[in-house]
């Protein structure tokens, strides 16, 4: 199993990491996250080098985490800093891996590759989700029983809303995908692909009705994938015939991290430009996000994964449709980046 290692992955939402250490499996590697006494986040390999106990079950003591089995303590740089046994000498090899990690705009970003290459300037700009005067944002986490590339495929092709989400986020295909109303555009950059969808005059999807009460509107969705696994979606609805209805904006983030070959962490953020102070509307958005994904997308992704029997999509010679271009390009770009990385010494 190969992943792109030199890239920033979302390790969670800052507000969801408190005093208790958190365990995560990223790219097949067990990691423990915790906060130092000054609040800074630390990411270490979650396996004590002594007896291979899980550090996340231990206690944070100041700037260190203590192994729950025999008490070795490790600092933010991963080195053992306290050995309670014998003469207390610290064996040379007593260290775990320390991962570069940055807290920025409410998100934690971890670098899984060569620390020397970790450049925080390359972290995705998500400042839009931290403008409380314009937007209210809901964040959350889901664990998907599916390969991360299947989740990216799913997100980049919004036409599936006309089938899989017809009762939640979409509308019937004859109204959503009719050639005279539907428009699809694609473009790509070095480590980004963008798929833009226009659903002209579509009936308002059930899950958007609390925010856009009109019976229909011009829906737009611009989905961007940024290597390795970070997606942003910009949704808008308006109605040129009724400019007084204004424009509903719902930007969202879909930040993925492979857990292993069969599972994917899915950190989401959904912002809205209406009902900024309504806790009810926030609860609705979180519930609906989970409902659409966990009850509609995830079972489908899981079923496809099982029927594929391999993560290597192209080996199965899939029949490709015009709207697959974005997903296919994202796969090709990621494959290139991984191959490139593995050629390096």
């Amino acid at each position: 199993m190969t992943y792109l290692r030199n890239g920033w992955y979302c390790a969670g939402w800052g507000r969801q990491l408190g005093d208790k250490p958190q365990q995560r499996l990223f790219l097949g590697e067990p990691i423990v996250l915790f906060r130092r006494s000054n609040g800074a986040v630390v990411a270490l390999g979650d396996r004590c080098p002594h007896r291979f106990a899980p550090l996340h079950e231990g206690r944070v003591q100041g700037d260190r985490i203590a192994c729950p089995y025999h008490g070795l303590q490790f600092g933010a740089d991963g080195r053992c800093q306290h050995n309670p046994h014998g003469d207390g000498k610290i064996p040379q090899a007593a260290a775990v891996r320390a991962y570069p990690i940055v807290e920025q705009q409410g998100a934690l970003w971890i670098w899984m590759g060569d620390p020397a290459l970790a450049d925080p300037a390359r972290i995705l700009d998500i400042s839009l989700f931290n403008r409380p005067a314009e937007y209210t944002t809901v964040v959350g986490h889901m664990l998907v029983r599916g390969h991360y590339q299947l989740v990216i495929d799913n997100l980049l092709d919004l036409t599936h809303a006309a089938y899989l989400h017809v009762d939640t986020l979409g509308a019937p295909p004859e109204q959503m995908l009719a050639p005279d109303r539907f428009k699809f555009e694609f473009r790509e950059e070095a480590q980004m692909v963008e798929a833009s969808y226009l659903f002209g005059g579509m009936p308002t999807p059930p899950q958007l009705q609390p925010f856009w009460p009109q019976a229909s509107g011009d829906g737009r969705g611009v989905m961007r994938w940024h290597a390795p696994c970070n997606l942003s979606l910009s949704v808008s609805i308006d109605d040129p015939a009724h400019p007084e209805a204004g424009q509903y904006l719902q930007p969202s983030l879909h930040l993925l991290v492979p857990q292993d070959a069969q599972h994917t962490h899915y950190f989401f953020a959904v912002a809205r430009n209406r009902y900024l102070d309504s806790a009810d509307h926030s609860a609705l958005i979180e519930r609906d996000m989970r409902r659409a994904f966990e009850q509609e997308d995830e079972p489908m992704i899981q079923a496809c994964q099982q029927l594929m029997g391999t993560p290597a999509l192209f080996d199965l010679k899939p029949v490709l449709l015009p709207t697959d271009v974005a997903a296919v390009r994202a796969r090709r770009l990621l494959d290139q980046l991984i191959a490139q990385e593995q050629r390096q010494p």
Copy 2:
């Protein structure tokens, strides 16, 4: 894992396939069954060639089934007949496998091998189970956690009733297998083996008492295996000393389909020549069939399979007893048919 592909397997009972598509795994292959608008049954590969979604979760629209993920529609011949995306052009490769399937005498029969060789004349004659004036028939389905050849072994050797089914379908061995009362005969044909059992003057097994109230009788069981996996059993009880008691007849079908190396579909039919109009007696037969198989046979088959650790029985050099002859011959014949089929180009 090798199976005989060129053979008719039971795909279910016609009355149990309604408007909703049905998913089955036969010989390791995912298959979707559905009815066309004229009622005819269709069997297709259950994996869309686009993104490998399970077709059985889609809707039947007229003569086609629509993929639940992105809406491609497939007809009875397996070819895509509607593409709702882009210009609607249908890619050449957009097709799934179509399996020959026949509905006959209440059963569905599927051909898993070369369609050119599918000859409905070779389907097992089960017309006996469709003579309502003479018999009432109960049908059902079980999924067995065991290799299909272990289920065939189980069915062909009825002596196990004296041990495993002593409280349901059998009687204690000293009464059921005593040399002066018990008789066993065996014969075989090209693709059939037959094991005949006479249990003279045996106590009436508990599960037969509602149909044969006398305390004892001469029980007969003739079990036939037809390649690949279709078995029929003819059970009768009478008492020559009391001809006025008549004869109770209970013919049954045991139609197996390998699901995979560890599981077997078991479609059963049990007919009786008494209490033809009694729903209670029908319910009793179904309950007892399930009880004897699911609580007695299946756990034993599953335990043997686990202790064997391989489906290759003969590799384990089993100690064989005289009553194993039918099961051993059925295995040999099936092995020959499979070897023969695989030698063909």
Copy 3:
């Protein structure tokens, strides 16, 4: 997976084997235990050589066990002694393996290797646990989801009580492992290693308070490992400043048998020299033993096993601490014994 075969393993406690046959998986081999009509214990391979049915589901009839599937009967020597089928002739190959087994001092001891080498004189002397005037003993069984060598590692290093058992069997490390109060000694013999611990003036651990009501005392623990997997622990507490408090003694046995590469049988016995007649104190000891092991040790062992990903500890180059010496020596000795055994023809 390799185990030491020529060694006595505990197969259970005699009082826990009654009339019903018992199934066990030892060293990956299915075994059935039952008592002959004279009460003597028999251990046979639990797989009928006919159709590979599990014998333990059959009935004991006098000195034999009958196969539940087709009725072959096997005696204490493993040979088939009754065939109810055909002419009743017993096939030459109809036999299962018979394992030497001895009932001694309340325990059952099984020999998994060459029967010619099984010398009962080499069985561990546990007579201490059968002196009712001095001690009352509680026995039990647990199945651990962990490799047996991880359980031995756990038992030989008592310092983990200061971390993992700080609320049950231990005390905080600064009180239990302080250099001026803590003393550790190690010695080894041919097939034995011994780790001795002195915890001077330690606070009485919560689970010992019902037996040693003083707030503190000098705790001693001497853990011995005897090849292959039999451990004994001698625990004592006294207080030289208060000789009138006497001495509380709690000897215990920790007899392990590998079930397979991931699971271990754990037969325990805990004796005490106080409250000999109190059923409440017996219940307390059993509950506490299970609580400490099942809620504290076992989850840790299981987590380490998962993080290791292999049973080969040394391949992972663990950082070793002074108190690991006993566990490391036991592993080395056992590895030598296994290598030696496998070199033999």
